[in-house]
Every structure is written in structure tokens, then in C-alpha cells.
Amino acid sequence: MSVNIFKQEFRMHLRSVITWSVAVAALIFVYTSVFSSMAQDAALLNEAISRFPEELRMAFGMNGLDLSTVLGFYSFAFLFTQICLAIQAANYGFSLVSIEEREWTADFLLAKPVGRAQILTSKLLAALSSLTLTNIVVWISSFSFISLFRGDRAYETKPLLLLLLSIVVFQLFFLTVGLVISLLVKRIRNVTPYSMALAFGMYVLSAFGSMLGESVWEKISPFKHFDPNYIIQHTAYDLPLVMISVSAIIISLVGSYVLYIRRNIPAVV
């Protein structure tokens, strides 16, 4: 790891980290703030939801969801937080190396006396630290906004902790998969379509995969691996599925190092 690259990369992420963190905190705030008023009519709401077609409930992770409980309601908000975190992490993953080639700064950086593995490690750690800042903001806003709006309703801490602890693996999935894809394609001109496609694609696989019953496709989606509804209801992870995420991260990481070290940096044309 080179400290100077880490610092430089971290500094470049900072503005984006602040934007995403504020957005995610606001999202959690809005969701939890409607909880107290919603909870009073939760029976009605649960009733209404149970009348939705099962496919729709599955698509929004509402199957077996009890909106009258604090965590039942929060898990609904958490799904949207996950989508935001996925887009942010995928953004960093896709741009990590590709931004240097798009802005032609690769010539600057790679002509310096550092090895490529060292560059990649520094960049990855800087991106992970940036994502962790957002992660911490999710933790703080979750705990504080829940306690602010839960009224006299109690909730168990353990399922909430499990949910929040899953974030780091979830972020790593999108960071590393984004990175390896960016190294597999020749050149990325704009990161946003890629990160949107990866984040929403995974979400869609998880949401609509369940409509088709047992589907192989949904098994590759971290939205399925870390289904908030499942974690809240079982106070546990679905470990075999979590292992799929972990394996994907390891494979993407190894693949990224191999590809980056052997990569031919395109010249200015």
C-alpha cells in the first residue's frame, strides 16, 4: 500500500461520499419518520399488503413482513438503502481503474516508481474506506432515527446488528464485481450506466427471481444473499447464500489483480 496514493484517492472520493451519505441518511430518516403514524394503522396496512398479489409482495420483499414492528418496518427501508449502497459501491468499483484511462492520468500514475499491485491495493483500500464512511453513517442514522421515531415500541437489537453488519460484504460485492468487469471491457466511457445496470440488475434478479419460484438466477444476487426480510425474521444470515457473495468477492479480487497487472494501458488517440 502506498500512503500517498491512498490519500489522493480518498480525497477524490470525499465529495461523493458526503453526497451518498446524506442521501442515505435522508432516506432512512424519511422512512423511519413515517413509522409512528403508520404503525397505528399497521393492522390495516398488513391487511392491505396481504391482499397484494404474492408476486408483488415478493418483489418488494414484503412477504411475511409485519409493518407494525419496528424492524419489520425498518427492513422495508433497508432494502432501499441497499440499492443506494449498491450503486455507490458499483460506481467506485467501475471507476477505480477506468477513470485513470478515461482522463489519461494512467500515464502519470503508472510512470511513477510503484508497482501495479501496490496501486490497486491503495485504490481498493481508499474506496473501501470511503464506503465505510457511508456505512458508518447508515449505522448512526439507523440507530438514532429508530430511537427517535419508535415511540414506545421495543425492538430487538440483534437482528438490526446483523442487518447492519451485512453492509460491508454487500458493498465489497459491488465494489469488486464492478472493478473486475471494468477490467474485462476495453474502455468505459461513462461509469453510471454500468453501475446502474449492475445494481438494479442484481435487485431485479432478486426481486423477480423469487416470483418464478426456485431460480438459479436469484442465487447470484447479493440482494437475495442479504435479504433484510430474511435476516429480521430468522435473526440469522442464510449462510450458504452469504458464501456465494464471499466467493464472488474473492474471485473478483483475484481476477482484478491478475487483469490489472497484465493490462496494456491504452494510449491517447
Binding site: S2, N4, Q8, M12, E103, W104, T105, A106, D107, F108, L110, A111, K112, P113, V114, G115, Q118, R262, N264, I265, A267, V268
Partner: protein, 290 residues
């Protein structure tokens, strides 16, 4: 020991040609000019030496060490000025230069300010706001601030005004006098002629010629013009003569070969005037690209 050595370097991009079987050596303290038109493979060669790209076959060494295996270590002593300079968004000149300096195992602060002074660079401007020429200056300072032993300059003068070009050449000469070896790529022959002692000419990815500038000019070609009444250009059409032209009673041509042969030929007719000159590098160069 040669500072730079390319041995049978080949780089192909899929079907596209990069460079083919390029071999040459640059000795310590030399200013080596690398000339060729755009797309001939000049940048590709430099990028191979910097391990920005990897060769399809062949090898490249710097200071006697393999460029890929010892890349990071070698780059401590290499300065590189890319043909196009683009830097991180939102950075000020001083931020970029400090970041650049932070990679080297020595203190570059003093030299950084010296160079910025010579190049008249405003350190507190944002790089995004700079003109192309000023960005180029940032690139020059960035490439020199760690006092490297070897410089790769990829078309360094593009965008610099003539005054700055002169300062830049002075700077490069000073560095060279301190023992710095310079690899200078360009498609402008005049500047290569002014600065370099030896040149490599690259044509369509292959080395066409490597020679001392003086040898290139003296030993090979003479530019001969003869004037006289009723001159017949066909008279000079003989082996060694090329670019035969005729206008306003004057015949111009290049001659390569035994000088006595052409002198006897010229002596065989009545002339009103004759000039025999060294061709410019430009003219020699054009010859390689015919």
C-alpha cells in the same frame, strides 16, 4: 553500458500494427532523437519502456535491467513527459507536483520550485483552468522535479511558444550536461537536429535507420543544383541521383554515392552556376518516407 536497450521489441494490438522488431541502444549521456510521423510507433516504444504496455515479443532494458521485472525500481530514476498531459480533476498545480514528488525517495521541493520558476509556472492555479501550453509546462516540471537520470520526452514541445521551447531546450541541455540521458521523440526534425546527437528513424513500426545526425547529413546525400542554358534533366539521370527536378533553367537533385563520379558528370557540360549543399534533416527524412 547502454542506458536504454531495445532488443527485437514487437508489439501488436490484435491485428493492428504497433511496432515490429525494434532494436537499438542509447548510451549514457546521449540525447537520442526518435523521429517518425504520427502513428509510426514512437509512443508505443516509449510506453513499452515504461511498462505501460507489455511487449508481444522481444525485451527492453533500462540501466541493464529488465523493464518489466524491475519497473518500479527503475522508474525512481526515470522522468516521463507524455505527449498529451491531463491531470486529476480539481487539482492545483502545486497539489499535482507535490503528489508527483511524493513518489520519489528524495526531497524534490527545491528543484520543484526552481523548475516552476524557469518555466514561469503559476503554482496556485487550478490545472483544469490552464491552457494547453501551460499544462504542458506542468508536465515538464512533473517529469524533471525528481532529477531523474533518464528522460523520456514524447513530443514535448507541442503547445509551447517559441520562447518557452527555447527555455525548455536549454533545460534539457543542462540536464544532459549533468549526465542525464535523454530519449526525445518528435516528428519535428528541426528540433531534433538542434538537440540530438543521434537519431533513430521509425517508419510504419520498423526502424528505418539509426545514425549520427552528422553522418546522416554528411555521408549520405548532397543536394545539388546546377544552372545553365538548355539543360536536359535526363543528363543527370544516373544511379545515385534522386528527386530530379527542373525549373527555370535550374536542375535540382539529390546525390548519394562517390562524389567524383558526379563531379565528372557535372564537369562534362557548360554551366552558369552550381551549388552543392548538405541536405536538411527534413529532406533526408522525407527520403525515408517516400
Amino acid at each position: 553500458m547502454s542506458i536504454i536497450e531495445a532488443s527485437h521489441l514487437t508489439k501488436t494490438y490484435g491485428k493492428a500494427r504497433g511496432i515490429i522488431d525494434v532494436s537499438f541502444q542509447v548510451a549514457e549521456g546521449e540525447i537520442f532523437g526518435f523521429i517518425g510521423p504520427n502513428g509510426a510507433g514512437k509512443s508505443t516504444t516509449i510506453r513499452l519502456f515504461l511498462s505501460l504496455i507489455y511487449p508481444t515479443s522481444g525485451s527492453a532494458t533500462i540501466f541493464g535491467k529488465d523493464c518489466i521485472k524491475y519497473g518500479p525500481e527503475l522508474r525512481q530514476e526515470i522522468g516521463y513527459l507524455p505527449s498529451d498531459v491531463f491531470y486529476y480533476e480539481g487539482m492545483k498545480v502545486i497539489d499535482l507536483l507535490t503528489y508527483s514528488a511524493s513518489f520519489y525517495n528524495r526531497d524534490c521541493t527545491k528543484r520543484l520550485h526552481e523548475l516552476a520558476g524557469i518555466m514561469e509556472l503559476d503554482l496556485h492555479r487550478r490545472i483544469d483552468d490552464l491552457s494547453y501550453g501551460n499544462k504542458k509546462k506542468v508536465g515538464i516540471v512533473q517529469g524533471l522535479l525528481h532529477q531523474p537520470k533518464l528522460l523520456f520526452l514524447d513530443e514535448p514541445t507541442a503547445g509551447l511558444d517559441p520562447l518557452m521551447q527555447r527555455k525548455f531546450f536549454q533545460l534539457i541541455r543542462q540536464e544532459n550536461q549533468r549526465g542525464v540521458t535523454v530519449f526525445f521523440s518528435s516528428h519535428i526534425l528541426g528540433e531534433v537536429q538542434r538537440l540530438c546527437s543521434r537519431v533513430g528513424i521509425i517508419k510504419e513500426g520498423r526502424i528505418a535507420e539509426i545514425a549520427d545526425i552528422l553522418t546522416l547529413q554528411q555521408n549520405n546525400y548532397k543536394r545539388i543544383s546546377v544552372a545553365g542554358d538548355n539543360l536536359d534533366p535526363a543528363y543527370f539521370d544516373m544511379p545515385g541521383v534522386s528527386n530530379l527536378e527542373h525549373n527555370n533553367g535550374t536542375v535540382h537533385f539529390f546525390y548519394k554515392g562517390d562524389i567524383n563520379t558526379i563531379m565528372r558528370k557535372i564537369g562534362g557540360i557548360t554551366l552558369s552556376d552550381v551549388t552543392i549543399e548538405e541536405p536538411t534533416l527534413e529532406e533526408i527524412f522525407m527520403h525515408y518516407y517516400e
